[in-house]
């Protein structure tokens, strides 16, 4: 079997430990290994990988395979960061007995994802501590959108009734503050219910999925080339990262690798996306503690990046750039100079902005020790990306699973352990500096050659995991191909889905007026979560 050398000892250990209980092992790529087993193996398998090999569960999802194999499949994707590989456990769920065992008590990171499977596939959760609805609001009719016999274009009557059965919080002086889904600012919709006693927040309940658009179902109805455009609309601020993750999955499914020049262009675009979002967030965090001047400077710099994006890719949000097999547009000397100029110009600007913020003691006072996400909580919830790295959870796909051009450039991954708003802002600041360095290296090493590998037809019944470290954190697209140049299933995993529950933890004990800045410091995508 073709696997990475670092995987061999783990594979041997797992096979020996679960001797006879694993039905099949196959590797589709040296770093992507599938295990087929029965449901009763899931807890033991997970526990073993977690304890012995420091694995983490990065995605849990379902797939309706009733047509061919007369079962639903559940997939558990574990990242083994040190071995640079993904282990994917596949277990069947018979349609006669549509239920599955929850892992949430042992691995809280699985919480929302398991409930999403329950909602969208109609598979009942057994042993889940909180099996309420998650992806579909409470009074949705009994439909299971991701089952194959459910038609994408089904017309449902307008929603009415109850959104969510909120838990009651009782006690002397306890009252509720309900916010949303339409917020005061220009942001996405979601509902927050704070239970407060005096000023401190005792408990925060989230009601999301207001912008559920049937995206995963829609993928199944589109030709794969159109899927790239749909992926761009999963989360607007991560358009390029999501589209590239989708392309990566398709490329892996058909064993085509993007040419080196295309990978360099992808890395440049991913870093541009990181820079403009991080700049915006640094500014927005300052605004939320009333330091508006800093935000104005940050927005000015962000606008500068967006205009260069437009010059490089024809679109300010880098849309239309991604395509299967590589990228659509090559850059000429003028464009490369524009990119180099941008980096050279932004660096002193950022230095100056950082100094401006550092000089404001009242800003620092508001940000330090605010919204602390403790490292052990971050680890339990599997918090990824910038929020995880600000709480000591040191993972970055760019380093641990090098994709695009990241194996050709050098960079460090900043990590803090304090987990407060100040550190989540500092992570962004440090990452922008790293992005400057990455962009300079890309420009220096800019390889010649093609920008697109030929990729016409997608054969059916291939499965592959595409992954990209977006600016917010790790993005996964898992696809199974179907006849007719289509995907039979596309599971989209945005880092936000993993991180939202952490917000409820970070806000505890803080005052309600600090919620906007704590929320902004995570800056999670509603659309990426709800899809």
């Amino acid at each position: 079997m073709n696997v990475l050398p670092s995987v061999i000892p783990i594979l041997a250990d797992v096979q020996q430990r679960f001797n006879g209980r694993i039905d099949a092992v196959r590797s589709t790529h040296p770093n992507e290994i599938y295990f087929h087993a029965q449901m009763d193996l899931v807890p033991g398998f997970s526990g073993h990988l977690y304890k012995k090999w420091n694995a983490r569960l990065v995605s849990v999802f379902g797939d309706d395979a009733r047509e061919k194999e007369n079962v639903f499949h559940l997939y558990y994707v574990y990242a083994l960061d040190a071995a640079h590989a993904f282990f994917i456990l596949r277990v069947p769920v018979p349609p006669e007995k549509p239920e599955f065992t929850s892992l949430t008590n042992a691995i809280p990171a699985a919480n929302w994802q398991e409930r999403e499977i329950q909602d969208l596939f109609g598979l009942k959760l057994v042993g889940h501590p909180n099996p309420r609805r998650c992806a579909l609001h409470d009074d949705w009719p009994e439909v299971y959108p991701l089952r194959k016999d459910f038609d994408l274009r089904t017309e449902l009557a307008p929603f009415q009734g109850e959104r969510h059965k909120f838990r009651t919080v009782e006690g002397e002086g306890v009252f509720q503050v309900a916010v949303g889904p339409v917020h005061a600012g220009i942001i996405e919709p979601g509902h927050f219910l704070f239970s407060v006693a005096g000023e401190p927040v005792l408990y925060l309940q989230l009601r999301l999925f207001y912008v559920h658009k049937g995206t995963e179902k829609l993928f199944e109805s589109l030709p794969v080339t159109h899927g790239v455009r749909l992926a761009e609309s999963i989360s607007g601020d991560s358009s390029f990262a999501h589209a590239t993750a989708f392309c990566h999955a398709v490329e892996r499914a058909v064993d085509v690798e993007a040419p080196l020049r295309a990978r360099a262009l992808r890395t440049a675009c991913l870093e541009l996306e990181r820079i403009y979002n991080h700049l915006a967030d640094i500014g927005a965090i300052c605004t939320d503690v009333a330091f508006v001047t800093a935000n104005m400077h940050a927005m000015r710099l962000k606008e500068r990046v967006l205009r260069v994006n437009e010059q490089l890719t024809g679109n300010r949000l880098l849309r239309g750039m991604a395509c299967l097999g590589g990228v659509r547009f090559d850059w000429d000397a003028e464009q490369l100079r524009a990119l180099a100029d941008l980096v050279n110009e932004l660096e002193p600007e950022l230095n100056s902005l950082v100094e401006l913020i550092r000089g404001s003691s009242s800003t620092r006072d508001r940000l330090e020790t605010t919204g602390v996400l403790r490292p052990e909580v971050a680890r339990d919830l599997g918090v990824v990306g910038i929020a995880g790295r600000a709480s000591g959870f040191d993972h970055d796909l760019r380093r641990d699973f090098p994709h695009a051009f990241y194996d050709q450039v050098q960079f460090t991954v900043p990590v803090f352990t304090e987990g407060d708003v100040q550190r989540r802002m500092a992570i962004r600041r440090e990452e922008i500096y790293q992005s400057f360095s990455i962009l300079r290296q890309v420009l220096e090493k800019f390889p010649s050659g093609q920008i697109r590998a030929k990729l016409d037809e997608v054969p059916p019944d291939r499965a592959a995991l595409g992954y990209v470290e977006g600016w917010r954190g790790e993005i996964f697209h898992w696809i199974r191909t179907a006849p007719g140049n289509r995907v039979g299933r596309c599971k989209v995993k945005d880092p936000s889905l993993q991180n939202w529950p952490a917000l409820s933890e970070a806000i505890l004990g803080n005052i309600v007026p600090d919620f906007p800045v704590v929320n902004k410091s995570f800056n999670l995508s509603y659309s990426g979560t709800d899809r």
Binding site: H137, V211, S233, I234, H297, L312
Partner: protein, 290 residues
């Protein structure tokens, strides 16, 4: 404090003079696609590659009706890659008051091999063959940036003397439109110079700026927000999804464009529309408040 002032002084004025000057977009930006209607030979490749159905055609009785819907277009430019009769321009301002004005149709005689010939009716009949000024788009073009800039000069006191309060509602967008709407408040575009202000409550708003598609879960919230606004009120649909449902269209979770739920006064296409396009549309809608 001194540092803050010093930095501001050093930075100087960065605000654009748009709309008195044309939109500052890159020559490489992908804006409105223009079809050479009179010389178009085959609508099939573009229809097949268009991810949102913005370009489509219907054949019956030896006739083909081909259609370009800017309200669905995501400006990916894929159609121009496969069809030489289509050219992507960098024009970004084409907000319209009627949804139909975003549509252009032409009918042709269908040939046996599936291509078409001889435009029977369409935008460029009796005009030059460049096909650019399409029937519906023409009205949008009349209100292009320069023209609008002139109008504003003429009625500056009238228009700028009044303030407009906007409530933004995300009824299901991917957040792309929000990025550009927030951009309106940056020092480059600075909408406050027109007396335009984003407010926190629909009760304070004259205009509802809505991004879409309207999801099943946001429909009620959108209706309630609209109902909470005092009259007279304007509704502006933003982006391909807001105008038409975009790539999501109508499905079990999506109702489609904003006008499927509340009446819309102005459509601003784009994916997302850039701040120039948004500003152009908002200023156009303001006249309506007279």
């Amino acid at each position: 404090m001194f540092e803050i002032i010093r930095k501001s002084l050093n930075t100087g004025v960065v605000t654009t003079r748009y709309p008195t000057i044309p939109a500052e977009v890159s020559s490489r930006a992908r804006g409105r696609p223009e079809i050479d209607w009179a010389n178009w030979k085959d609508a099939r490749p573009a229809t097949a590659i268009c991810p949102t159905g913005a370009i489509s055609h219907q054949d019956s009785d030896g006739q083909r009706v081909a259609k370009l819907d800017l309200g669905k277009c995501v400006f990916c430019g894929l159609c121009a890659d496969v069809d030489k009769a289509i050219r992507i321009t960098n024009k970004c301002e084409f907000a319209t008051r009627r949804r139909d004005d975003l549509l252009t149709r032409a009918s042709y005689n269908l040939k046996p091999d599936g291509t078409h010939e001889r435009m029977v009716s369409g935008p460029a009949v009796g005009r030059d063959a460049t096909g650019a000024p399409a029937e519906g788009v023409a009205s949008a073009q009349r209100e292009s940036s320069e023209a609008l800039g002139e109008q504003i000069k003429e009625r500056a006191s009238k228009l700028l003397g009044r303030s407009l309060h906007i409530r933004e509602v995300d009824a299901g967008s991917c957040n792309g439109c929000e990025i550009e709407i927030v951009g309106l408040t940056n020092p480059i575009y600075d909408v406050e110079r027109f007396g335009i202000h984003f407010v926190a409550s629909p009760r304070h708003a004259d205009m509802l700026l809505v991004t879409g598609p309207v999801t099943r879960n946001m429909e009620l919230a959108l209706r309630k927000t609209y109902d909470a606004m005092p009259a007279p009120r304007l509704v502006v649909a933003v982006g391909a999804c807001g105008c038409s449902g975009g790539i999501f269209g109508v499905n079990y979770a999506s109702r489609g464009g904003i006008d499927a739920v509340i009446p819309v006064d102005l459509y601003i296409p784009g994916c997302p529309p850039n701040p120039h396009a948004l500003l152009h549309g908002i200023l156009m809608a303001m006249e309506r408040l007279k």
